[in-house]
């Protein structure tokens, strides 16, 4: 015997999904919209969604600018999984590796209060590092694989 009402109410919310895009700034915008649509049923706070959007935007912009060097036809795949300790995101691309094979995080990137010393760039990894956890970059069979966790949607 089936209980149609119950089946509908118990249908689980998707806790993982993917987004594909090519390396173009407008595609990044659309991919972020798609990701936020996928996350909407999880009822995260606006502040959390804002952090997810920002970190993913920075990671994707880095790939467009640095891995694909401005080429607009490079493939980028994003996959996310929600687990007990947050949202795990993995992003892969076929572009050039990171310089020296590692994430260019600068520990001494403290903005100066003298305007002339304030950098105009390099904020991206600073934001990713400030909001994400377990950030791992690896080169795997000619692809860049970046994964990280955002401590959002926690009970």
């Amino acid at each position: 015997m089936t209980f149609p009402d119950r089946q509908i109410s118990q249908r689980p919310v998707a806790t993982n999904a993917s987004v594909s895009l090519v390396s173009d700034p407008m595609e990044v915008r659309h991919a972020l919209e798609e990701l936020l649509d996928q996350l909407a049923p999880l009822h995260m706070a606006d502040e959390e969604l804002g952090s997810v959007e920002l970190v993913v935007a920075e990671a994707l912009n880095n790939i467009v600018e640095h891995a694909y060097l401005g080429r607009d036809d490079g493939r980028i795949e994003l996959h996310w999984v929600l687990s007990g300790n947050g949202l795990h995101i993995r992003i892969t691309d076929n572009g050039v590796p990171m310089p020296e094979g590692r994430i260019p995080l600068h520990p001494d990137q403290s903005p100066k209060d003298h305007a002339a010393l304030v950098p105009e760039g390099g904020f991206g990894w600073f934001l990713i590092g400030g909001l994400a956890h377990n950030i791992v970059y690896r080169r795997d069979r000619g692809r860049n694989v970046l994964s990280f966790r955002l401590a959002v949607a926690l009970d």
Binding site: P25, E120, F123
Partner: protein, 112 residues
């Protein structure tokens, strides 16, 4: 890139009529700011109250806009929405800019 400017007394208010300043528009934003501030008064306020998302490229463009201001002209900010405020706070750029709650309060803070 929808940027509009209004001169109120000695003060130039530039309002950003876009929901995002991101990598897709950062260069256009910076160029437009250069045009609008070329003959700026002593104080210029960039009102971001309609912007709900900026990324590091957008932040870089705002910082570049501040650096390219004519001599003796400061660039203040107003109306930072939560996601925008977060980017300024995390990068500590909130210590580099004077940030007002709104364009109106910026005008009241100092007569101009």
């Amino acid at each position: 890139m929808n940027l509009t400017s209004e001169r109120i007394g000695d003060c130039l208010i530039i309002r950003v009529g876009e929901p995002r300043i991101d990598a897709a528009v950062a260069i256009r934003f910076k160029d437009r700011m250069r045009d609008l501030t070329a003959d700026a008064a002593t104080r210029t306020v960039l009102d971001l109250s309609e912007v709900d998302f900026i990324d590091s490229s957008g932040l870089g463009a705002i910082v570049a806009s501040m650096k390219q201001m004519p001599d003796g002209v400061s660039l203040d900010l107003s109306g930072l929405m939560p996601n925008v405020e977060k980017v300024f706070r995390l990068t500590r750029m909130d210590t580099v800019f004077t940030i007002h709650q709104s364009a109106e309060s910026a005008l009241q803070d100092r007569a101009c």
